[in-house]
């Protein structure tokens, strides 16, 4: 398996002003062999009420296909400014996407949920492919996605 690395310091709404503490978090997404072209993945966070807070990563460069990531698209209105500077290539079947970013401590154990929407050309659109609560206890515990994600984990 090949890994795709990306490192960045996240400076969106997810790093709260006044709370200087943040820690590097590694998000590892491994896809199963679903037998199709590269998958588009949107990684984003919602708060306890289900409202969109911000995006962490967009795997897939062509914005005309973002509408198939339907929950993310609905939450953002397809606004590409939400993923400016945090966009990479789509992820092939069987491949792993690994990204490391600085996340505010306040995001953990406060009711926030990390979501992944996935879509593949000529195959099922899979909004809410993964939905995991962000907790310090849950770190390092892999979860399965509904259709394309074989395992997802966040490590601190």
């Amino acid at each position: 398996m090949k890994s795709l690395f990306a490192t960045l310091a996240l400076t969106t709404a997810l790093t709260f002003p006044g709370i200087a503490t943040a820690r590097p978090v590694t998000l590892t997404t491994t896809l199963n062999n679903y037998g199709g072209d590269g998958a588009y993945l949107a990684l984003y966070v919602t708060d306890a009420s289900g409202a969109y807070v911000g995006s962490l990563w967009m795997a897939g460069g062509k914005s005309k296909y973002y509408e198939h990531l339907s929950d993310w698209y609905r939450a953002t209105g397809g606004d590409t400014a939400q993923v400016n500077g945090i966009t990479g290539a789509s992820v092939g079947a069987g491949r792993t996407l690994e990204i490391t970013l600085d996340l505010a401590d306040a995001l953990f154990d406060a009711g926030y949920t990390l979501h992944i929407d996935a879509a593949v050309e000529d195959m099922r659109d899979s909004p809410n492919e993964v939905a995991v609560p962000l907790t310090t206890d849950g770190a390092g515990t892999p979860v399965r996605g509904r259709r394309y994600v074989a395992s997802f984990a966040y490590d601190m």
């Binding site: 062509k62 914005s63 339907s70 209105g77 290539a89 195959m123 659109d125």
Partner: protein
Amino acid sequence: MIRALHRWPGLLALALVTILCMSGAALSVFPAAERLAAPQVEAGLSIATLADRIQAAYPGVEQIRRSPSGRITAYWFDQGTPGAAVIDPATGEGVASADPNQTLRWLTNLHRSLFLGDGGRIAMATGALAMLVLSLSGAALIVRRAGGWRRWFAPQRGPLAARLHVGIARIAVIGLVLSSTTALWMTASTFDLLPDGGAAPAFPAKVSGQTGVAFDQMALLTDTPVAELRELSFPHSSDAADVFTLKTNGGTGYLDQGSGALLAWADLSGWERVSETIYMLHTGQGAAMLGLVLGLMALGVPVIGATGVLIWLAGRRGRPRIRGNQPASRAETILLVGSEGGSTWGFAATLHAALSQAGQSVHVGPMSGFAPKRYARAQRIILLAATYGDGAAPTSAKGFLDRLNALEHTPDAPLAVLGFGDRSFPAYCGYARTVAEVAAAKGWPELMPLDMIDRQSPQDFARWGRVLGDALGIELDLSHQPVLPKSQTLTLVSRRDYGAEVQAPTAILRFALPRVSLWQRLTGGGFARFLAGDLIGILPEGSAVPRLYSLASGSRDGFIEIVVKKHAGGLCSGQLTALEPGDTVTGFLRRNPGFRPGRSRAPLILIGAGTGIGPLAGFIRSNRSGRPVHLFFGMRDPDSDFFYGEEFPVWKEEGRVTRLFTAVSRGARPHYVQDALRGEATQVAELIRNGARVMVCGGRDMAAGVADALVEILAPAGLTPAVLKAEGRYVEDVY
């Protein structure tokens, strides 16, 4: 210019375009196959009924899609396990796997990106652009050659490769233009260069908060037939704030999952509609028949490409390679060539080499490419001009005089004209003379007076070179070895002898067709394809200068036939008339496009004497369509030199010749072929008035006598042989 625009993109993009077209042709089959395999929807079935049936079969259904072919696919979850199937709309049950076809996926990725991502997409788009340029420039070339759009499907001539190239291209070009333009549009759309993105309506802020509405309570779903459906997405089961999302051919909307009401709707934008139409035209998805037709047209491209390369190679072979040819804009000496058969190019190559050796920078090109504006640094312009027929422009000089006449000012660089020809013809160097006269009349300064080279004489050429060297102040030594076409060995199969009794021993010699390689067949080289009236060059032993004879047969006859009279002391005719079956000679083919009967149905008047009957007999033998042919044939004595005397009754029986008039010159009252013409003056004049074509073959004196006789015969009708010549209805092959 157009030809360059056709040649270079063609050669450069050949591989890319071939991959594009082959994969495209393979892909074109899939929409048709999907259309045939997809279970058909009953007329008037509504989306509501379909959704109801599918949800009954698969309670966890999340999405229903309908492809342009009509195939319906459903995606569901069953106790956490994802499922998908092609649905039979009559039952709502799955009937086939919805997994992507791996062959289709592989072909699609090859076709659009060579498996190379965005870089590959750009490469393939470049290939499509090359295809478009090739199609348009090729169409322009076809129109130019045929002489107008109306003659787009005019019959083809020439070697097999050229006929295949144009024959396939003029049909396929429609599909290729469509496929390449739509490909460029789709690439632009993929890279977000077009404002054709989906415009979804704003998500409704307020919903009923209820769930569980039945499909038959949702007006939009009961009113919309399945044929309009593209996609129906179901709300998340756990989220009461979620909605149904419906996409149809008309647009996108949200439906409340409690009330069934339409909460928001957005029509497709104009750009989206255009892009979708273009997608359909390119992929054939939703237009399977069109897709198959486009695929079939794309399948012609490898053949068009391969024959194109052959045509290019054959064209290069016709002229010698000129090493170190300078661009026209940088050369001090511009050397322009007007050549018919290619021999003048050989002289140009020798001159180019000698001048380059002397430190000059020289550009060699065809006279037809005359473009004085480009000759920025030219100090002198030299024309080497052969003559075609009676003073007409040779092939590579076509259009030169028009361009010269159109000039406001002649170039400042002085001009030298060197004519090439055969002194035994009345129009000796006729074209070169005309060019020199026009140039002088326009006030073009003269570098050297007009000079002429007789029968490719190396001595004449060397002498002229010395004069040129003097004019330039350099020592110029031109030693030219004429390059002869590649000759082949020909074996005599049979001979028939005539004329011994009248002191004119003559033989009809028939040679076997030499083996023709596939290469020759494709490029029309060697003896692959020839017609009666073309020439054969025979190289006699002990001489490097070939003698030309008119062919009395075409390649379709399956043999090579010539009529040869033994001249006293003639080297070549002596050797030929001494041949016995099984003996061999070496020879090469030279085309003679100016002396052909053509395909028209107009009557032919063939006039010949002595061995001049050869090509005329060939025309008659190949007249399978019963075209009216009137032959006037002059001989010495019907008992001795009536060539083809055995065949004529048969040919007449078969309708290949209509009437035969003979003139006999030996005897008490000598009678020549022009006398026979005069004897039939009324009928001849009548035939010519009605569009008949006159072809004369034989000695110079006979041709002159025939022309005089025709002047008399045509005068009452207000016509002259000169007028007929200008119309191309009076052609001669004289020796």
